[in-house]
C-alpha cells in the first residue's frame, strides 16, 4: 500500500549530508552494499538466464485433466492397455474437379501417401489408405475367401483398372472411411510411434507437425484444385505449440505497449527503460526458475510471464513515481531512491503478497495446470520483490532520472477546478446524488448480469477441437472430415473391463450391446463402435458376409473365433479391456451429461460381476469429467478467492464498511464477467477458472491503493471529496496506469490462435479495466454512504 507521508523526509541534495545509517536494516543492507547487490543480480541473471534457455514447450493434455475424478483415475489405471488405440493422424487428400478416380488424381494420392510413409515417427506397417497393401477387399465365394488390395497389382491407370479400383473400394466397404462419401477425397490413416525406434527419442510433435505442413505445402500449396486436410491428436498438439510461439510474439507487443504507456506517464525514457528492463528481468528469472524446477511452458503457464511483467511494470511505476518526485524536489538521486525504498518497500511487498494470495487459492483446484499456474505465478511474484522492489531503486540510484520528467512529477497538484475533466468527473461520485446514481446503476447491472449469467454454460461450445479457434486451419480440416466422411472427433470412450480372458463372455458382450443401444437412443450420439459391434460384423464376415448373420451369437466357439480376429486392434491381448467408443455430434456439456447419466443409469440397472463399464477416456470422456469438476470448482473458486480477499481487506481496513467498499465493486465485476462469458459464448472451463481468481486477486490491489489513502486522509479530518481529491493526486493516476498496463499485458492474447488463451485474454482485460473503474467510481460512491465522515475538527491521529 502506498504511504501518504511523502513529505516527511527531508530534501537532501548533497550526498554528504545523508545519514547512511538511517533507514531500516534491510534498507541499509541493500543500499550500503549496492555494488554487491548489482553483482549478485548479474550473477543470478546469468545463471537463471542460462537455465531459461532450456525451458521446454509442452502442449499435452494430461495436466489439464482433473486428476482426482474417477474417470481420470479409471483412465490412468488402464492407460497402458488403452494406449495405442488412437494416436493416429488422418490425412485427407482432396481434389476439386471431378473425383479421385482419374489416373492423375490417384497418382497424386499415391505421392502424398508415399511422402507420409517416409516421415519419421510413422508406424509404417499400420498405415492405411487405398494405396497401402493392407487395405483389401474381400469377398466370400463358394470356394472360400477371395480378395486382394483395392489397388490391384496390375494397376496401370487404364479405364479398366480404374473401374476395378472403384469396384474394389465398394467391396472393401471403405466408403466414408478411407474414401470420401462424395468420391472427391481419400484418407490416409497414419498411426504414430511414441518413440523413434532408431534414435529412441520421444516423438516431437512440433517437428512432426512442421513436416506435415511441409507435405501440405509441397503437394497442395499453390494448387487451388487440391487440398490436404490433416487431423489427429499429434497435429493438434503441434498446432498448439506453434500457437505458443505466436503468443510469445505477443509478449513483444505487450512490452512495447507497456513501454509507451510508462513513457507517456513519466516522460522519462531512461527510467522507463529501467522499469521495463527490470520487469523483463523478473520474467527471465522466473523462466529460469521454472526450467530449474522442471516445469514446462504450456498454453496455460505461458500466461504467467505476461502477468508478472505487467505487475512488475505497475509496481515499478510506483517506485519510479516516488523517485521522480523526490528528485524533482531536489533530492539527490541516491537519496531519492533510498527514500522511495524506505516508503514503499513494505507497501509493495504487501501488495505483491496480496496478489500472491489470489494465485495461491488456485492451489485448491484439483487440476494440475491450475496448480502449476498457482505455483509459477506465486514464484514470479516472489521474484518481483527482488527485481522490482530492490533492483529498480538501486538502478535508479545509479542512473537517476531525466531532469524534465522530475520537474514535471514534482509540480504542485492542481486544484480541484483545474484538474482534467476526467478526474473532476470522478470526484462527482463523492456527492450523494451522483453516488446514488452510480450505486443504482451498478445494482441494475448486477441484477442484469446475474440474470444473463444464469445461461452460463459449462465446458466448450464450439465444434471441432475446442483448444483452437473454430476457424483455425485444424478445425476447418475437422469440419471437412465431418462433412465428407462418416467420422466424428468427439469420442467418449467407455472403458469396458472384464476379468482376464473375460472379453469373450457372451453375457458381457450382450450387456455391451444393450449399453450400446441405450447410448444410440440419446440425442447427440451418432455412432457407437467397439469390440461388441465389431464382433457382430465379424460374425457375418465369417458366414459368407450374409447380413442376416450380423448378430451376437451365443455360441462360444463362434465368439472365440470372432474375437480372436480382433486382438489387439479392438481389445487388449489379455482379453480383459476394451474401449467402447461413443461418437458424439458435439462436445457440449448437455450432450456429455446425457452420456454420463445414461452410463450411470445402465450401471445401476445392470450391475454385473462379469463386466464393468467404466467412465471414461477419449476427448469427450475427459471433457465430461472436466466439466463436472470445473462446475464445482467454479463455485469453490469464488468462495476461496473472496474469502481470502475479504480477510485481507479486513486486516487492512479493520472495518466492515471498508471491506464492503472494496469487495462490492469486485463482485460486480465477477458477475458482469460471467454475463460477458454468456454474451461471447465462452463456457466455464479449465482456462476460465484462473481468470476469476486472478481478476479478483489483482483487482483488490486497486481497492487497497485507493481506499487506504482515502481512509487515511479521512482520519486526518478531510471530508470525503477532498480526501478523494488528494487520493487521485497521489495514487489515482497510478491506479489508472496500473489498470491500463495490466490490460495491455493480456489484451494481446485476444488474438491468440489458441482459443482458450483468447478467452482468457478477453476476460482478464475486461476484469482489469472494469475493476479499475469500480475502484475509481463505485468505491467512492459506496464510501459516500457507508463511511461516516469524521467530526469537522481536523484532528491528527
Amino acid at each position: 500500500m502506498a504511504s501518504s507521508q511523502e513529505s516527511d523526509l527531508p530534501v537532501i541534495s548533497d550526498l554528504r549530508d545523508f545519514d547512511f545509517h538511517s533507514g531500516t536494516f534491510l534498507e541499509r543492507l541493500v543500499f550500503n552494499n549496492r555494488p554487491t547487490v548489482v553483482v549478485l543480480c548479474v550473477l543470478v541473471t546469468l545463471v537463471l538466464g542460462y537455465l531459461a534457455t532450456g525451458i521446454r514447450l509442452q502442449a499435452g493434455f494430461e495436466k489439464t485433466l482433473p486428476k482426482s475424478h474417477p474417470y481420470v483415475l479409471n483412465y490412468r489405471a488402464n492407460q497402458t492397455d488403452l494406449k495405442g488405440l488412437g494416436n493416429n493422424l488422418r490425412v485427407v487428400v482432396a481434389v476439386g474437379e471431378g473425383t479421385i478416380f482419374t489416373p492423375e488424381n490417384l497418382e497424386y494420392i499415391e505421392q502424398v501417401n508415399d511422402a507420409i510413409f517416409f516421415m519419421p515417427g510413422v508406424d509404417r506397417n499400420g498405415m492405411k489408405s487405398i494405396w497401402t497393401p493392407n487395405t483389401r477387399w474381400q469377398t466370400v465365394t463358394e470356394l472360400g475367401f477371395e480378395g486382394g488390395p483395392v489397388i490391384p497389382g496390375d494397376y496401370n491407370g487404364s479405364p479398366e483398372s480404374i473401374a476395378a479400383v472403384r469396384t474394389n473400394i465398394a467391396r472393401a466397404g471403405i466408403m466414408g472411411d478411407l474414401v470420401g462419401n462424395d468420391e472427391k477425397s481419400a484418407a490416409i490413416i497414419v498411426p504414430l510411434l511414441d518413440w523413434d525406434p532408431e534414435t529412441g527419442a520421444r516423438l516431437d510433435y512440433a517437428e512432426l507437425s512442421h513436416k506435415l505442413e511441409g507435405i501440405r505445402e509441397q503437394y497442395a500449396g499453390d494448387d487451388l484444385d487440391r487440398s490436404i486436410h490433416i487431423i489427429g491428436f499429434a497435429k493438434l498438439v503441434g498446432d498448439l505449440i506453434d500457437g505458443l510461439y505466436v503468443v510469445m510474439g505477443f509478449f513483444a507487443v505487450a512490452v512495447i505497449i507497456a513501454t509507451l504507456l510508462l513513457y507517456w506517464y513519466t516522460r522519462c525514457l531512461r527510467s522507463s527503460l529501467i522499469v521495463i528492463g527490470c520487469s523483463l528481468l523478473a520474467v527471465l528469472w522466473q523462466l529460469g526458475l521454472l526450467a530449474a524446477l522442471g516445469y514446462e511452458l504450456d498454453p496455460f503457464s505461458i500466461l504467467v510471464p505476461f502477468l508478472i511483467f505487467a505487475i512488475g511494470v505497475s509496481h515499478g511505476a510506483q517506485k519510479l513515481n516516488g523517485v521522480l518526485q523526490d528528485i524533482g524536489r531536489g533530492t539527490h538521486r541516491y537519496v531519492a531512491a533510498r527514500y522511495t525504498f524506505r516508503r514503499l518497500f513494505l507497501a509493495g511487498v504487501t501488495a505483491l503478497l496480496s496478489d500472491g494470495v489470489g494465485f495461491a487459492v488456485l492451489l485448491l483446484i484439483q487440476i494440475q495446470v491450475i496448480q502449476d499456474l498457482a505455483i509459477t505465478a506465486s514464484m514470479g511474484v516472489l521474484v518481483l520483490i527482488f527485481t522490482n522492489l530492490i533492483l529498480i531503486p538501486i538502478t535508479l540510484s545509479y542512473v537517476g532520472v531525466g531532469r524534465k520528467a522530475a520537474a514535471l512529477a514534482s509540480e504542485p497538484p492542481k486544484s480541484q477546478q483545474e484538474m482534467h475533466v476526467f478526474w473532476r468527473f470522478l470526484l462527482l461520485f463523492t456527492h450523494r446524488g451522483p453516488a446514488a446514481v452510480a450505486i443504482v446503476v451498478s445494482a441494475l447491472m448486477a441484477a442484469g448480469g446475474i440474470y444473463v449469467s444464469r445461461n452460463l454454460q459449462i465446458g466448450d461450445l464450439d465444434p471441432g477441437a475446442p483448444e483452437l479457434r473454430a476457424d483455425s486451419r485444424y478445425n476447418r480440416d475437422v469440419a471437412y472430415n465431418v462433412e465428407h466422411y462418416s467420422v466424428s472427433t468427439d469420442v467418449f470412450a467407455i472403458i469396458v473391463r472384464t476379468p482376464a480372458d473375460g472379453c469373450i463372455d457372451y453375457r458381457g458382450l450382450t450387456l455391451a450391446n444393450e449399453l450400446e443401444w441405450r447410448l444410440l437412443q440419446l440425442e447427440g450420439v451418432e455412432d457407437v463402435r467397439g469390440l461388441n459391434v465389431r464382433a457382430r460384423e465379424v460374425m457375418a464376415g465369417i458366414n459368407e458376409g450374409y447380413i442376416k448373420w450380423q448378430s451376437l451369437f451365443r455360441n462360444q466357439d463362434t465368439i472365440n473365433y470372432a474375437v480372436s480376429e480382433l486382438v489387439p486392434d479392438f481389445v487388449n491381448p489379455a482379453c480383459s479391456l476394451w474401449p467402447m467408443q461413443v461418437y458424439l455430434a458435439d462436445h457440449k456439456a448437455t450432450t456429455l451429461n446425457r452420456v454420463v447419466e445414461a452410463l450411470e443409469q445402465f450401471n445401476a440397472d445392470w450391475p454385473s460381476q462379469r463386466v464393468e463399464f467404466l467412465g471414461a477416456a477419449g476427448s469427450s470422456g475427459f471433457e465430461a469429467a472436466t466439466n463436472i469438476v470445473v462446475k464445482q470448482a467454479n463455485r469453490d473458486m469464488l468462495y476461496y478467492v473472496y474469502g481470502a480477499v475479504i480477510l485481507l481487506c479486513m486486516l487492512t481496513f479493520r472495518s466492515i464498511t471498508g471491506v464492503l467498499c472494496a469487495v462490492l465493486p469486485l463482485m460486480l465485476t465477477s458477475v458482469l464477467c460471467e454475463a460477458l462469458m454468456v454474451w461471447l459464448g465462452i463456457g466455464v472451463k479449465v482456462a476460465t477458472l484462473p481468470v476469476i481468481a486472478l481478476g479478483v486477486g489483482i483487482g483488490v490491489d486497486y481497492a487497497l491503493y485507493v481506499l487506504t489513502v482515502i481512509l487515511a486522509k479521512e482520519r486526518q479530518g478531510l471530508d470525503l471529496t477532498t480526501a478523494y481529491y488528494e487520493t487521485l493526486n497521489f495514487t489515482g493516476r497510478v491506479v489508472a496506469l496500473i489498470g491500463v498496463t495490466l490490460a495491455a499485458g493480456v489484451v494481446t492474447w485476444a488474438a491468440s490462435p489458441i482459443k482458450f488463451q483468447a478467452d482468457m485474454g478477453i476476460l482478464l482485460t475486461f476484469m482489469f479495466i472494469w475493476n479499475m473503474f469500480g475502484a475509481l467510481i463505485l468505491m467512492p460512491a459506496l464510501a459516500t454512504f457507508l463511511i461516516k465522515s469524521p467530526p469537522a475538527n481536523p484532528a491528527k491521529d
Binding site: 450374409y546 450380423q550 451365443r554 440397472d605 460381476q609
Partner: protein, 397 residues
Amino acid sequence: MGEAGAGRKISSTPYLYLDTSGIYSSDFNAAVVQIVMKAGVVIRVALLALVVAVGSPARATEEFDVLTQPAVPSARATHSLIYALRKFGDRYFATGIQGHILYSDDGGETWNQAQVPVRSGILSIDFPTAEQGWAVGHEGVILHSSDGGKTWVKQYDGIQYAREGLAYYQELAAQEPDNELYPVLVEELRLANEQGADKPFFKVKCQNDQRCNAVGAYGISVVTFDGGQSWEHSMHRYENDNFNHMFDYAPLPTPGRYFIAGEAGLFLIADINQRAAHRTYSVPWEGSFFASAATADGAIVMGGLRGRMFRTADEGATWIVVDKPQTSAIVAAIRLSDGRLVAVSAAGEVLVSSDNGFTFSLVPIEYVGPLSSVAEGPSDTLLLGGLKGIHKVTLPR
C-alpha cells in the same frame, strides 16, 4: 415380463457391486431401495437385510437376456440394421435388430413400432392372412401376432428348440434303432442344449393361419399345424445331410410344392402333403443361395454368393445362368406389379430385369449402404432395407 422394467434389476451402487439386486420385485421395495441408496453404505446394507427379512420372494440373480427383454420403442429403429422388408396387403413390415418390427400403412413414409417381447434380431416375417402373422429370427425366436402385426407374443425360442428336439429325437431313435440319422440329430441337439439358443431361423413361410414352416442355420427346421401352439421338429424330413444353412423357403408354381434353398447350392423340393423334401443335384452352383423371386412366366430366379444368379423354369430340373453384371452377393429379389424383377446386393447395388429374369442390369440408384432386403413401394419407388435402416428410392422406368 410384459412390462418394461419388470425384469430389471434394481441397483446397488455401480462401484460396490453388492449384487443384492434381483431380489426385489415390488415397486414398494424398489422405492425402499431408492431411499436406501441415498443413505450410507452401512445403513444401506442393514436396510437391505431388513427388506430381505420382511420377505420379498427371493429369486436367483437374473442376467440380461435378449429373450426376456422386450423391445424398446426407438426413434432410431428406422435407421438401424434392417434384416427384412415385406409387404402384405397395404401394410409394409420391416424387421431388424433389437426385436424391431416396424409397420407402415402409408407406403413406407412413416413407421410404427410393434410391441415385441424379445430383443432378438428378427430375420423373416410372413402373414398368411391380414391378421395372423409369424416372425422368426436370432436365438431361434418365433413370434406370433393376431392383430395384423401391432403386438407380438413369443411362441418359441432356441432353448425350447434344443430341449424339445432332444426328447423328440431320442424318442424317434428309440423307436427306430436302425435309423442312422436320429443318433446324429440327438448328438446335435445335445450340443444345442449346452450352448443355449445359438441358432437363428432365417425364414418363415406359412401356407395358411394354421400351418407354417421355419428353417434356419445348420438345417434347423420346425413346423406347426395348429397356428403355432406347438412346433414339431422336421429336420429329419429334409435331405440335408451336411446340415447346410437354409436361407429361403418359397412356393413353386405347382400347388403344394415348395423349394428350400441355402448354403453350398442347397436346393430342396418339398411336397408339403408328403411332408418331405428332396435335394436337387442339377444345380450348377456350389455357393449359397440367399434369395429368390418367381417370374411372371412361372420360372424361379435364384440369387446368391458372388452375385451369381440362376434361372429354372422346370422346378429345378434344368438351370441357366442369368446374364448380369458382376456384383456382390444377391441378398434379396422381388417381382414388381408390372412384372419386372428387382434384385439387390450386399454391397448396395440394385439390379432390374425386364425379361422375366433372363438378364439383369444395374440401375443407377443413390448408394445407401449394404443391403439386406427390398420391397416395391408406391408409384415407382423401392423400399430398401439394410445396414443403415430403411430407404425409399425412385426406381427409373
